[in-house]
């Protein structure tokens, strides 16, 4: 066509400013909901001393009995990190993090080698039970394999034998380092290089555990895989690393959940997730993030700085991110896709809910490199209380991305009149024969809408939750079934008053 077709427009931008905005107090009541996962497990832990230096990194590596290449990887990353500056471009305000005041390794004390779940400390099993993630044989979730990560280490992974029959490897990354070193050496850091950004460099230097998934050629993973991340200590950071490799013509759906206790200090969580999809492979990665968000005055809560990226290396490969972000005091997260393979597809579906003094700066990057690549972005931000919720996204069409297309839709919903919503869409096109389409809207839950639903017999809280669910529908439709129901419930809970 030879014509650059870049459409940027704002549609349906109906900011409904009402003089008498929704019975302010009522809404405040509704969005107040105590955090249900705030308990601390009293368990003996092995912690190393606070602070970060080469010796600490060597100590972590030694504790994990790592091969030389990994220690080198860590030390190199640490050197890079020391030269880097913490990014300040996000629309986030927070107290400077003292990286020397953090414990970089904390693990519950266990027997040296655990051969079966029976040997796992019952307190840990109980913890995950309480979180709704039963790990024991009798109670484990049907048809979902779980890798449970507690602070710095993986506690247990279920359904391993069943998965192994199909050639699927699902284990903690520490185990993978021991048993599948070749795969780790080949792929680790190839999607998110240690030098990528400040937090990725930090993670590369100190990561302690996380999940590893390998789906062999032609295999459709027989069940959903999931990781559940639990932060238990108040003074240690969690730096997990996840690596998923889908070989030719394979597919997998991976779910991730996160919670943490309530502490009045901020805990740093800096994770890296790397996905690799080869020819005709597809990876669906869904997250429900419910880290502790801090209290109403904004004290405490997790600082969540995460780098998630997928590489569509193969032709017609597909990587789809869906996320429901409801927790954390600070969220800095941009799950992205590098679309290299011809006709590869990247997707990003996101719901981010912020309340009280939470701040979220989240979005995606879709980097179109190969020809005929396609990406879809659907982002729904909901801001309540005094929170700040920003969408930040980049769509880039490289010089070889002929016939590529992107569609982005970014909608914000404001609840109350103290919350704020921003949209920062960046578009870079170096290929005239590509299409980028962007739509954005902002709306408020208006008093009139609530009154309309109420005047039809629908309770106030149900009316709010109906409208929020309706607003998020496009994203919920993308989540795996059980997850969609959970996400809907989670949002309703977050927005429900103590009455419910």
């Amino acid at each position: 066509m030879g014509v650059s077709f870049v459409k940027v427009y704002k549609a349906n931008c109906n900011k409904l400013f009402l003089d008498n905005m929704v019975n302010e107090n009522l809404v405040k009541d509704v969005v107040k909901e105590p955090y249900k996962y705030g308990f601390v497990t009293d368990i003996e832990t092995e912690k190393i001393e606070k602070g970060l230096n080469e010796d600490i990194i060597k100590l972590i590596s030694q504790k994990k009995e790592e091969p030389r290449f990994l220690l080198d990887f860590r030390l190199k990353a640490f050197k890079r990190w020391q030269k880097m500056k913490e990014p300040d471009w996000a629309a986030l305000g927070y107290k400077k993090i003292d990286y020397q005041d953090i414990i970089y390794y904390s693990a519950p004390k266990q027997k040296e080698k655990i051969s079966s779940l029976d040997e796992v400390d019952p307190k840990l099993l109980e913890t995950f039970d309480k979180l709704g993630i039963p790990l024991t044989e009798q109670k484990k979730l049907t048809n979902v394999a779980v890798d449970a990560v507690f602070d710095s280490v993986s506690i247990a992974t279920t359904f391993r034998e069943e998965l192994a029959e199909h050639g699927v490897i699902f284990c903690s990354i520490s185990e993978a380092v021991k048993n599948h070193a070749d795969l780790i050496e080949k792929y680790l850091g190839t999607v998110v290089p240690a030098s990528d950004n400040y937090f990725a460099a930090l993670n590369s230097a100190v990561f302690s555990d996380g999940s590893f998934v390998y789906i062999p050629k032609g295999v459709t993973c027989p069940m959903d895989l999931s990781s559940y991340f639990r932060i238990n200590s108040g003074d240690s950071g969690q730096f997990e690393r996840t690596l998923i490799i889908a070989e030719e013509s394979s597919s997998v759906s991976y779910l991730e959940g996160c919670t943490a206790p309530m502490f009045d200090t901020n805990t740093l969580h800096a994770a890296v997730v790397e996905l690799i999809a080869l020819d005709d492979a597809s990876i669906k990665y869904s997250t429900v993030q419910n880290w502790y968000a801090g209290n109403e005055e904004g004290i405490g809560g997790i600082f969540n700085f995460v780098t998630k990226r997928g590489k569509c290396l193969g032709k017609r490969s597909k990587i789809s991110w869906s996320q429901v972000e409801t927790g954390s005091a600070i969220t800095w997260k941009y799950p992205s896709c590098l679309l290299l393979g011809e006709e590869s597809v990247g997707e990003f579906y996101s719901v981010a809910l912020t309340n009280n003094l939470q701040q979220a700066d989240t979005g995606t990057k879709m980097i179109h490199i190969g020809p005929k690549t396609k990406s879809t972005i659907v982002s729904k931000g909901i801001s309540a209380g005094n929170s700040k919720n920003s969408y930040r996204g980049l769509v880039k069409m490289g010089t070889k991305a002929t016939g590529s297309r992107n569609y982005s839709q970014c909608d914000s919903m404001l609840i109350g009149d103290q919350a704020s919503a921003n949209t920062f869409p960046y578009i870079k096109s170096q290929q005239p024969d590509s299409e980028i389409e962007h739509e954005a809207s902002t709306c408020r839950i208006s008093e009139d809408q609530l009154f309309y639903l109420q005047s039809r017999g629908i309770e106030f809280e149900e009316a709010v939750s109906m409208m929020v669910s309706g607003f998020c529908r496009d994203v919920f439709n993308q989540l795996p079934m059980e997850f969609a129901a959970e996400a809907d419930k989670l949002l309703a809970l977050k927005l429900e008053g103590s009455v419910g």
Binding site: C443, Y452, S455, R456, G457, G470
Partner: protein
């Protein structure tokens, strides 16, 4: 016939009702009593307080009742939430039905209908049973099933929105229906559909209040009483011929009543 009606207790009694919003008085002592089987029409200039009266009866949170009472089936409802009023059988047909993006019309109608059924101690309907019921009611308003899968009122034409209101009324089977300018902006065919819908739900046990500017709806549905409102008060009450006279003489004619009172 009238005396026979009054043997029963009133459905709605509004007594000397005054109300304001943002400290601005809108209603200044309105009294109105509706008995079972009665149809009342309220007419008056824009801004005279007709819509406000209907919203206050339905429980809109923007208005404060400064004086007087609203009684529904003998009970004071001044402090009831809008949803409680709806569940107990008060229906307000909106002049401008509200669009709710993302919420499916079918689900909305079902949740709403079940809230009313729960109040009436009737069994709540699952999706399948509800679809049966709603199909039947769609006939009344001559609406296509496609309306059910769309978001509530979103992208509906003016006439479609009004018919959706009548559909809701037909599902909720209220004790009293207050229809705020349901006839505005309708073409003749749509007006007939709406009028026949109203007739379908009106019976010896229900009351209806029609807020309107036009005689043409009242040609279809003959009211027992016509009230004329001005500046937050009912200034004249008559029988159905009052509407005809009003249509001939215009609201200027009613200005004289104010001078009389």
């Amino acid at each position: 016939m009238q005396s026979k009606m009054k043997e029963s207790d009133p459905i709605l009694e509004v007594k000397n009702l005054s109300a304001s919003t943002d400290n601005l008085p809108i209603l200044k002592g309105v009294s109105l009593t509706v008995y079972p089987g009665e149809i009342h029409a309220i007419m008056g200039r824009n801004g005279c307080g007709k819509s406000t009266l209907s919203k206050i009866i339905a429980g809109h949170p923007s208005y404060n009742i400064t004086n007087g009472d609203i009684k529904f089936l003998g009970k004071n409802i001044n402090s009831l939430e809008p949803e409680e009023r709806s569940q107990s059988g008060i229906f307000l047909g909106f002049q401008y039905p509200i669009e709710i993006p993302g919420v499916s019309n079918l689900e909305f109608l079902r949740v709403s209908t079940n809230a009313r059924r729960k109040f009436l101690n009737k069994e709540e309907l699952d999706t399948f049973d509800f679809e049966e019921l709603v199909k039947e009611k769609l006939e009344i308003v001559k609406m296509d099933q496609a309306f059910l899968s769309r978001s509530v009122n979103q992208g509906f034409s003016g006439g479609e929105k009004k018919r959706n209101e009548i559909l809701q009324m037909a599902l909720l089977e209220p004790k009293i229906a207050i229809l705020d300018e349901t006839d505005s902006g309708l073409d003749i065919d749509a007006l007939r559909i709406v009028a026949s819908g109203i007739k379908r739900i009106s019976n010896a046990q229900t009351g209806i209040i029609l807020i309107t500017h036009y005689q043409r709806l009242l040609d279809e549905i003959k009211p027992n009483y016509v009230h004329v409102m001005s500046d937050g008060q009912i200034i004249k009450t008559g029988e159905s011929d009052l509407a005809l006279e009003l249509e001939k003489k215009g609201y200027e004619w009613t200005d004289n009543f104010i001078k009389e009172t």
